[in-house]
């Protein structure tokens, strides 16, 4: 069949649509002018201003901590959940478990955020914890959401895994725990890395849930960006956005190279 030109040109148009805003964002981050949309000359001025802004730096550090802790927690919980799902065909509450794991994947952020906030408020009333909302409640919220994503990634890998490798190790007399640490875990490593990275990114990108469950004094980077977006566009955010986009592109590129080399 003759290949039609139409899908190909639409594909190019699609890529242009996806990348033009990012390209313009990067271009205008080097703009001298205070007005975002008026070009007045090349300058690194806004990068300098960004690194002088204490609020952004503090928020970035908090976000990094929240993302790292919640991703690690989600990796632990998600891997345990994925293992118990894969290894136990039937157990009490299996369908309930599966249902609960899917809830964070489909519920809108505003619903999750409000529900968690109300739960924290009620828990604070009933058992005195959390006495104050802030970093810890954001970490819990992000870990809860990310766990579901980690489960998806790890279960996909587990279902491809060759069970005979584990059985061989057991036959050769290895204890179950040794089999887990020296056979199962190494085989899972790529999925664990991917799951952690996904959880980290999700946390670093979330503004809605954090906005609901945060307390006084805990402002993450997305919350800081969001509140300055409310005041209107500012070239400083162009600079920050460029840095974030560059970091994401570098991470994806490295992951891509690693995957290519493995093949």
């Amino acid at each position: 069949m003759k290949q039609s030109r139409f899908p190909l040109s639409l594909l190019m148009f699609g890529y242009a649509f996806l990348y033009a805003p990012i390209a313009l964002l990067v271009l205008y981050s080097f703009n001298e002018s205070r007005l975002v949309a008026v070009w007045s000359g090349l300058s690194l001025r806004w990068y300098g201003e960004l690194f002088k802004d204490e609020r952004f730096l503090e928020a970035a550090w908090l976000s990094f901590q929240v993302a790292a802790i919640s991703a690690t927690l989600a990796l632990l919980l998600g891997t345990l959940a994925a293992l118990s799902f894969d290894r136990n065909r039937r157990f009490w509450g299996r369908s309930m478990f599966g249902f609960l794991l899917n809830v964070p994947l489909v519920l809108p952020d505003v619903v999750i955020g409000l529900a968690l906030l109300l739960a924290f408020v009620e828990a604070g009333k009933a058992i005195g914890w959390p006495a104050e909302r802030g970093m810890s409640t954001i970490v819990i919220a992000h870990a809860t959401i990310a766990t579901s994503y980690v489960v998806v990634v790890v279960r996909a890998r587990l279902s491809d895994l060759d069970r005979s490798l584990e059985e061989a190790a057991l036959d050769l007399g290895a204890r179950p725990f040794a089999v887990f640490t020296s056979v199962t875990l190494p085989l899972l490593t790529p999925a664990l890395l991917a799951g952690w990275l996904l959880a980290f990114t999700l946390s670093l990108d979330d503004v809605v849930v954090a906005q609901f469950v945060t307390g006084p004094g805990a402002t993450t980077l997305p919350m800081e960006i969001f509140s300055s977006m409310r005041l209107g566009v500012s070239p400083k955010i162009n600079a920050l956005g460029t840095l974030l986009a560059a970091a994401a592109a570098a991470a994806v590129w490295i992951a891509w190279r690693l995957q290519c080399r493995r093949r």
Binding site: M1, Q3, S4, F6, P7, L10, L11, G14, F17, L18, P21, I22, L24, L25, Y28, L35, V36, A37, L77, G78, L80, S84, N88, G93, F97, L100, V106, L107, P108, D109, V110, V111, L114, A115, L116, L118, V121, E122, K125, I140, T144, T147, P176, T201, D205, V207, F212, P222, I225, F226, M229, V233, L240, G241, L244, A245, A248, A249, V252, W256
Partner: protein, 296 residues
């Protein structure tokens, strides 16, 4: 025996976490939606009142729901959310299908990089991408400056703070979610089916309608759900690009929660949003079962 205890712990930890931080919060959300608002901290009355004799009295009311329905707020925001999410899904489908098809028909070694290019924006901060659109579409934005400079218009074209801006933002944010599942389905379609269709005298349009479209149905369903469901509850895009007039459910929920501080009403809106999300998902599940049943 020891292994069983170990597996109990392995199993128990995530389950307890989910019960505490997924099930319990949703139940509390439902509970608060049935309580009444008050001035104070927290801004709602407890549902269970303990009398001095130690007896519990239940003080549940459907007030919040009734009020939302009477104001017409619920109907209005439900309608706006359904319309905009539906349009977003439709546009993503119309644009995303040919894109997925073009990638699926590309040379094998090119497909990986092409797919990576679709996914890359997803790894870039969502807020930053929305911000980029704000700098482009604003009255004093890059697009308007450019059009005025060209002499095509002399008044800024007002896109920002309208439903058009919300649509652009949502199509932009969710297009990759449509392309990926469509690609997964289209890549597996056997070339010989297309040749057979052409040999039997079908033109490209006929082949598309009676071969490609039905075969890509699972991808269309999955992609539509991945776009429609988050678009329905979207908050950031209507807040930033839709202006004060937008009444999408996510934005209205936040406004009622943070500005009006009527938490029971916000909880009732959240329950309505939860139901609005559940309906298409149940429908999707049924459609999938039907498709699976037809194939086997």
């Amino acid at each position: 025996m020891k292994q069983r205890i170990a597996s109990r712990i392995v199993l128990g930890l995530p389950l307890i976490w989910l019960l505490l931080f997924v099930l319990l919060p949703v139940l509390i959300l439902a509970m608060v939606s049935l309580s009444e608002s008050q001035v104070g901290i927290p801004p709602y009355k407890p549902l269970l009142n303990w009398s001095e004799a130690g007896q519990a009295a239940l003080a549940a009311s459907l007030n919040s729901y009734v009020q939302l329905a009477e104001d017409g707020m619920l109907a209005q925001s439900l309608q706006e959310s359904l319309t905009l999410a539906g349009l977003t899904t439709l546009i993503c489908l119309v644009v995303g299908w040919p894109m997925a098809w073009a990638i699926a028909r590309a040379r094998r070694e090119r497909r990986g990089p092409l797919l990576l290019l679709i996914m890359l924006p997803f790894w870039t901060s969502f807020l930053v991408r929305i911000y980029a659109w704000m700098t482009i579409l604003g009255d004093d934005g890059i697009l308007n400056n450019f059009l005025i400079w060209l002499g095509l218009i002399d008044q800024p074209w007002a896109i920002m703070n309208t439903d058009k801006a919300i649509l652009i933002g949502m199509v932009y944010a969710y297009l990759p979610f449509m392309v990926l599942p469509l690609f997964a389905v289209l890549e597996r379609i056997d070339q010989s089916l297309l040749e057979a269709s052409a040999d039997l005298g079908a033109g490209p349009a006929r082949t598309f309608l009676s071969v490609l479209l039905p075969l890509s149905m699972p991808g269309i369903l999955a992609g539509s759900a991945l776009v429609f469901v988050p678009a329905l509850g979207e908050y950031v895009i209507p807040e930033m690009m839709g202006g004060g007039g937008s009444a999408m459910m996510g934005k209205m929920l936040w406004d009622v929660f943070a500005l009006t501080r009527d938490w029971p009403a916000a909880a009732a809106l959240a329950m309505a949003l939860l139901a609005a999300v559940a309906v298409p998902l149940v429908f999707l599940q049924r459609a999938r079962h039907r498709l699976a049943g037809r194939d086997s």
